[in-house]
Point group: C2
Amino acid sequence: MNERLSDRPNGDAALAIICGAGSLPFALADAAASRGRRVVLFALRGWADPKRVAAYPHHWTWMGQFGRFMRIAESEGCRDVAFIGTVTRPSLWNIRPDLRVMRLMPQLVRLYRGGDDHLQSGIGRLIEQHGFRLLGPKDIAPELTMPAGPLGSRTPAERDQADIRRGLALLNATSPFDIGQAVVVAENQVLAVEGPEGTDAALARVAELRRNGRIRSLMGTGVLIKAAKLGQDHRIDLPTIGPQTVEGAAAAGLAGIAVVAGTTMIAEPERIASAADRAKLFVVGVDSGQPAVP
Amino acid sequence: MNERLSDRPNGDAALAIICGAGSLPFALADAAASRGRRVVLFALRGWADPKRVAAYPHHWTWMGQFGRFMRIAESEGCRDVAFIGTVTRPSLWNIRPDLRVMRLMPQLVRLYRGGDDHLQSGIGRLIEQHGFRLLGPKDIAPELTMPAGPLGSRTPAERDQADIRRGLALLNATSPFDIGQAVVVAENQVLAVEGPEGTDAALARVAELRRNGRIRSLMGTGVLIKAAKLGQDHRIDLPTIGPQTVEGAAAAGLAGIAVVAGTTMIAEPERIASAADRAKLFVVGVDSGQPAVP
């Protein structure tokens, strides 16, 4: 462990991709490979999709096997590390700590007391302390982040832009409390603030409130607004949308989705655009905390 | 309509109580009657409990029958009006506007665009514009509001007090956005921010997150924190807890409930205290925005 991996020359370094759920890990692997990089997937058991993982050089790992990860990553010649894909905050029971992690326990327990951010940026620091370089998906493949402006053919109306502004201001206010990264606002009324249940569940809640007549605004009004938390480490856990987010927003009777351009990951942009057009929703990349564009 | 009811002498004025759901309307009616006041209930169809309403002088009314309310309240000699009991934000389809309300429509539509607060304080202004005096439950029966300190035998531990402080700070930050009046915080992690679904549903969500292993803290940790919104009209729609809140908090695996003393209504304090002791939860009245007492 004394030789720092970062002292090695960069040219032959492979990229270790620690993979959670969804299709983003594979989009990132493909994007890195297309740039001539060798990639090695570290697939998290219970999260990464086994069928798709099989198509890449890979190692299966439990959450918490940090010693094992470092050993294999070193022998594979990995210097850079990226985290990508959905991993909800793990229950302590789902973590299989190895010896290295046991030694780090006091540090990890401190990280664990607090919101997601705290935990995740701590994991980032830990990785770098052990001689790896942590890269964000954006550093590797900027095309995986949301561009400014609409995906698909619809754009937010003036009423929607007011909801987007209110949503961004609310996310700004809750950011220090390290909650979720999404809110739903319809005609100025806040319909949901995402907690640990995640965006899909928050949208399902709005759909249920509509069914129960607890929302005054009509179907086809309201916006899902997502933004990274202030000070969040953009290399880990950026907010993400995919085609299923569009379907959830449609089921919740919303007018569209607004995410902060450049700091939101998008899985399968073409499928998002076609799902949005089919559902008659807008999906737009906006400036953070600024009046909604375009 | 030209004679202002507020010009009448106060002595013979009856109290009109507009009743939503739950037991609080009857507690308020009893408290007013025990002070020698004549009370007339205006029971909201779909909300007020018909069995209990029958025991008092009453008139059934639909939401929105403001002209009818004023006519009957005048003929009953009511000068003071109180709103009490649960009424979730009504769907427009559940309102039966009468002629008076139709004339006020442009004003009401403006009120309707915005959160609950906006709507409710607007209704308060409307009532006063028509010559009534709007009283808060606290003006009539201070014993129906939460006292400082614990109900029941348990008190918050130091860890719980930290969660209470964080919850109050979060409610303070979201208050300008006119969202809910409750949050759940466990070991510094925010587990839920209440939206239009209400406190009981937010607690049920936390219970489900626990069942799904999405919450890291152990059973018996975490606090439901409730506070009136800043600038909220304390005469209308104060946050409320009752025995079912204690049951919901217990099912969510929390350590207790903290509400702001003096501005939270309590239905059946003895039943709350015994439910809390049975479930081994604390229920405590705290200072708003201040370190948790006692």
